[in-house]
Symmetry: C2
Subunit: 416 residues, 2 copies
């Protein structure tokens, strides 16, 4: 057991290393399965929506000019020439002084340029329509291309698809769409004290909880996690488990033992992988200092070595793992999962000298004020994380934050 | 085509109808598949975590009293009696003036009540440890039960599970867990003008986009959607399609035609279902007035009739469908999907007389200010919804909101 000194890199320095990792490949999915998936190519509109002039009200298709001057006291009268059936082409145009009934969603007849709403009319037994209000040209209808114009670029590549995006794509007849594959995330645990969660730990042993935490985070952020089990603190075992993961994953997470010895072994095993390059060993965040980022194999895949303390591992995943997954997933913007809330800090907080400090907080509403209550406790504990809604960061070089200061809370996803 | 008058119910009145619908059944899932699932029973801790006194630092297990008074100038000296291996039981206790090496995560030897960090020590060749700083009892270790106490209630029923919750359950050896089934959502579309999205619509026809929008919303909020296709505007066809859906779903959504005639037919078909009771027909929200809520079958299942305009359907799903899914999914609190942001309104907005008005907005950051820019456009259009990040509600009885007023934006999920 020897003392270990890190050459700490800042979070920004680590994030600046990510562009070397390329988004995973592309696949085509059915539109019904495309929610939350990330577009791999821009989408432009293959046609106009709507493709025909469409009534947006139940009423009467008219030449707007025929209604000008109409009022309750002095209605205009038009001759009803029939009805446009839903989904069909009108059988005749609208002549001067004429009208056709048009239900909501029906096609406007030729020469009609507006729809008078049912509410402002009365049908007389002789087939005459009384119009009590004028309409302007274009009123109560959707023009062809008013929603979307043919050729218009609708979505850039790198965008995660939301329900309304899928609705618009459906309206355009897009049944399949190219998206980035979901990154496959292999999760390895190492440490002689770790046992599977189904086991009853003997004295001195603990269950493999970090793998489940990291797997769920990866899944939450669009990855496909695979829990690969526990590897003994043994160089050959670690190396071969990592090499196997390298063949089938897009990202390797290894949750190392927290002891210096276990970390050393993990680091040696990583360095023994093909084309291995340790890019960062020690990050200036608290908790989470003993984090490893490496590139392994060719083309280079990222490997993230997570600290053993659960709160440290969770913070490293939030701060470094989430943007890494976003990069691999082809997201152009920031990760869409987990938002931010503005709150007031409810007590003084001292920062971590020389490191960005991530403090777990619980949100509490009091009247109109949202308070962030720090949830303190050693990073070896899980329960403070469970009691928290998100993290408040005390920046590098800031000695602390005062009670009542406004803070941005990085919310865990999903919320509660 | 006859004029239709609704007896509008408020949103609150409609939400107050939901308790009659019972959460769907319970299933047991593997912990690795439990993310976002809703607990069907409270969970209490079957054991202490940690189950033994655990070092949280690389260092030396000591009797704290032996270190009192230690300093760089006047260190204390202890006799090193060996090391505690990871995952093992210490071979001997710590006697007065003695110490054992304890890596992070290792079990503390009997009689040791603190850990001196490696940083504040030096090992001498004769097996003596120089201690340069005192430690208090309990320092640098986790006590048994410090994270979680046996019998402690950890999670109430009705809670959606987050990554850290799964981590804690894994630490406790919980491999399977009872959760509510995900509600099955049958989505039917009606309207003679509607064609499948793979079809090329003839003039006057449009594609079935609302089904894809509603299905994705249901999936986003924990449901399992099934798109059941398009039913002709025909009473018998509608009735038999609804009866079939009733047999295999926990919630039926029917996206009706927007015309009065189509709505009348849909309503008649709903009323013809077994044990049908139309609970609401017309809701005081804009867009979304022509919404139907019914209970059908026994025990009663909810049926939500969505307006035909896409923006109306999307808003009704957000405002009424999401809490309905939350109820069926057994969620005790509000739906965890989609958050809220506080922003300033960037222009004056007039409300909808007699209805709650839901205005689509796009968020824009300018300096430190978050602006909500209204995205206007008829509710027959999809593109304003695509351009928006969320909704601002103008309450019933409020004539409008002024530029610069602070507003709460109900964010669409997932965010961007």
């Amino acid at each position: 057991m020897t003392l270990e000194f890190f050459r700490l890199q800042t979070r920004e320095e680590v994030l600046a290393l990510y562009p070397r990792f390329m988004p995973v490949g592309v696949e085509e999915v059915d539109l019904a399965a495309a929610l939350d998936r990330v577009l791999a190519a821009p989408v432009s509109a293959p046609e106009d929506v709507p493709s025909f002039p469409r009534s947006s009200m139940d009423g009467y298709g008219v030449r707007a000019a025929d209604t000008f001057g109409a009022s309750v006291g002095a209605p205009q009268y038009l001759e009803i020439k029939g009805e446009v059936p839903m989904g069909a082409v009108p059988q005749r145009p609208v002549g001067v002084g004429e009208t056709l009934r048009v239900p909501t969603g029906a096609m406007l007849p030729p020469n009609a340029d507006a729809v008078v709403m049912l509410e402002y009319t009365a049908e007389h037994p002789d087939g005459t329509l009384e119009v009590r209000r004028p309409v302007a040209p274009g009123e109560n209808l959707l023009q062809p291309g008013e929603d979307v114009r043919e050729g218009e670029i609708l979505f850039p590549a790198g965008l995660p698809l939301r329900p309304q995006d899928l609705g618009l794509l459906a309206a355009l007849g897009v049944t399949h769409i190219p998206v980035f594959r979901r990154p496959r995330v292999a999760i390895l645990s190492s440490g002689d004290e770790i046992v599977p969660i189904a086991a009853k730990p003997a004295a001195g042993q603990v269950r493999d909880s970090n793998a489940y935490l990291a797997a769920a985070q990866a899944a939450e952020w669009g990855g496909i996690p695979a829990i690969k089990g526990i590897i003994a603190d043994d160089f050959e075992a670690l190396k071969s488990a990592l090499a196997a993961a390298l063949k089938e994953a897009d990202l390797i997470l290894i949750s190392g033992g927290s002891s210096v010895g276990a970390r050393d072994l993990t680091l040696e095993a990583i360095k023994a992988l093909p084309a291995a390059d340790v890019l960062a060993h020690g990050v200036a965040i608290r908790p989470g200092k003993p984090t490893i980022l490496a590139q392994v194999g060719a083309p280079p895949l990222p490997l993230l070595g997570l600290p053993g303390h659960p709160a440290s591992a969770a913070v490293v995943m939030e701060v470094l793992g989430k943007p890494l997954l976003a990069r691999l997933a082809g997201l152009a913007g920031p990760s869409p999962w987990g938002g931010e809330a503005k709150a007031l800090l409810s007590r003084n907080l001292a920062g971590a000298s020389g490191r960005e400090d991530y403090v777990r907080v619980r949100l509490r509403t009091e009247g109109e004020t949202l308070w962030a209550d720090p949830v303190l406790g050693p990073s070896g504990l899980l329960s403070p994380l469970v009691k928290s809604d998100g993290l408040v960061m005390i920046p590098l070089g800031v000695e602390g934050l005062l009670r009542g200061e406004p803070v941005r809370v990085r919310l865990f996803s999903p919320g509660r």
